[in-house]
Point group: C2
Chain length 358, copies 2
């Protein structure tokens, strides 16, 4: 998409003039980078010229797009799946249809849509993509949830559903429980009658964070220092030993998840916030029969099953509309993009997920 | 079994006299320990008095029994499954039927038998156990192989068959390749057309060890220091990237196995000779989609499927008789048990598996 726009730009600056009849998008204001590097230095807000909307094209006036850690890594050039610069940042997003190509029948200006599957270039006011990328939503869906439902809540849902055959009354243990995935795990597990044991890093405000998670439905919440005991399972009392664990931190926080797991349990790593590896004893494999594996939602998304994906997103968005699934977000006006970026980069302490509001 | 014998001893020393008609075993010379501790200090060779052979009992004159690392750990008291002392050491073994109880029809004196499933107390000249424990073998089966086929070769076979669906042309990578399991992996994989990449520790004689493994059918053999390169896979050339890895060492040797694995590969840990944990990066889980798991033959053996087990052992022993499966062993006369034990404990440098020969 970005390339198409740059191509148009090139054509125009080289002096050719397009036919007036071509349907064009409005100019777009975009977060742009022309080489990989630290996101706070390589990204610039620029104005991109109008692009042609082809017969199957849909131009969407964006309403919301999140700043995900993977977006940061894409700009840094360290993410396995990334567009080649020059590119516009962002990967998830939702907005209102602004104008449609001549062949489009099932979308009209004003419709609420989200990108599905997610694709590059959402950090801009107007996004033009083929109709295959847009999924029409109920009007009463909050745009900031539509813009954030694919990466994090879907990760939580698939990790609960696909790894271990859990039954009501089983338990899950997770670290990084205040993350967006963590918050979704608590609520989605609760809906299935699955207990959650949640581990937080020690930090100012951890008591408040605990209360928040308990309100979402967390059964047990511990800070890492509370788990500095010989036998963490003694804390469980009569609660079930978890069959499944989620790790998005690494290092000691991953070891704590392993300690909670029951015989034959499985730990899924989906992130590494502490930038420390996972360390496992031989006896955990041989005698405790643990299995460790990973989850990467991108692989799930790339399996060419967009229909199944959209059903799942509709399910999650339905829960959201019913108030059964929610998570912390901070809406950041697009004009203050670089402040939101700094918050995501951790320059301003622990912050909720930043959502660009256009 | 040990308890029954001690009970008999007690009855006799308390002055009661048994009926002459009871069928009794010969006295047995045994490696005995009455408390857990370092095997070289707590084990004693003692003479045990005759025990009664019940109607379904079989007395076997032992021919061979290995000293496995798990036997050492049982005596140390650190193995999860272990008899309560006082006990006789050993867990695998084979011998000739000496005498049978009155209800036994399918075993006769002189038959070659092995313990299956393995059970405690094989380090003695005469073992009396219920007929369920004895599996009759072809006379031409080498006793030292019958005595060692259950723990190590079966581990190799099950790890190749049960974890990943391998096809001819696939590859396996393993560390600790000179171990008994390692040697069996090479040969059993070869029989199925599966390549093996084998990693050895650097040590005197590693060139000889490499040659030995190549003669067994190893496709590639490297010492750890040879793998101290940026990209170990560059060494593979056109050889397939392994889908499955086996780790019995831990630490750096486990990391080397992980580095060789292909996208989505699985590493199975079945031992920890280096006494160091396994360390795994977040990206190995998330982006390389590796799975790590464990294998413990004891769990397989405890699944109440002795018939299936015996079929498998017959298959392995068939390969052995055909010369298609072999491994290094050193036969140690029972009278020199403590030297063999010292060799197993590593006091005399790297040594092949010690098999007590009665």
């Amino acid at each position: 998409m970005a390339c198409a726009r740059f191509l148009t730009l090139k054509i125009q600056t080289s002096g050719k003039v397009r036919a007036f009849s071509a349907l064009m998008s409005p100019p777009s204001t975009a977060v742009f980078y022309d080489h990989h590097g630290p996101p706070d230095t390589v990204t610039k807000i620029i104005k991109l010229p109008p692009v042609e909307i082809k017969a199957n094209g849909v131009c969407v006036k964006m309403l919301a797009a999140p700043i995900n850690p993977s977006d940061i890594n894409r700009i840094q050039g360290v993410y396995p799946v990334r567009p080649q610069p020059p590119a516009v940042g962002g990967y998830e997003g939702a907005g209102l249809v602004h104008s449609v190509g001549s062949a489009i029948r099932d979308l009209s200006p004003g419709d609420l849509v989200m990108l599905s599957p997610p694709s590059p270039g959402t950090w801009q006011t107007h996004v033009v993509k083929d109709k295959r990328f847009w999924h029409k939503l109920d009007k009463d869906t909050p745009a900031e949830y539509a813009a954030t439902v694919t990466i994090n809540p879907l990760t939580a849902l698939r990790m609960i559903e696909d790894i271990v055959d859990l039954k009501s009354g089983d338990a899950i243990v997770q670290n990084g429980a205040t993350s967006m995935v963590g918050q979704c795990v608590i609520q989605l597990a609760k809906l299935r009658g699955i207990h959650t044991i949640n581990i937080l890093r020690d930090r100012p405000g951890s008591d408040e964070a605990k209360e928040k998670l308990k309100k979402l439905g967390a059964d047990e919440v511990y800070t890492e220092s509370q788990l500095d005991v010989k036998n963490v399972k003694s804390l469980l009392g009569n609660a079930p030993e978890p069959a499944l664990g989620f790790n998005c931190v690494g290092g000691n926080a991953a070891s704590l998840v392993l300690k909670f797991l029951r015989q034959g349990g499985t730990m899924v790593t989906y992130g590494g916030m502490a930038k420390k590896p996972v360390t496992v004893s031989t006896s955990a494999f041989v005698f405790k029969e643990l299995t460790l594996t990973g989850f990467y939602v991108q692989n799930w998304l790339s399996l060419d099953r967009n229909e199944e994906l959209r059903e799942m997103l509709d399910y999650l968005l339905g829960l959201i509309r019913e108030g059964k699934l929610k998570y912390d977000m901070e809406l950041a006006p697009f004009s203050e993009f670089h402040t939101a970026l700094d918050k995501t980069l951790g320059k301003l302490g622990s912050q909720p997920k930043q959502i660009i509001k256009f």
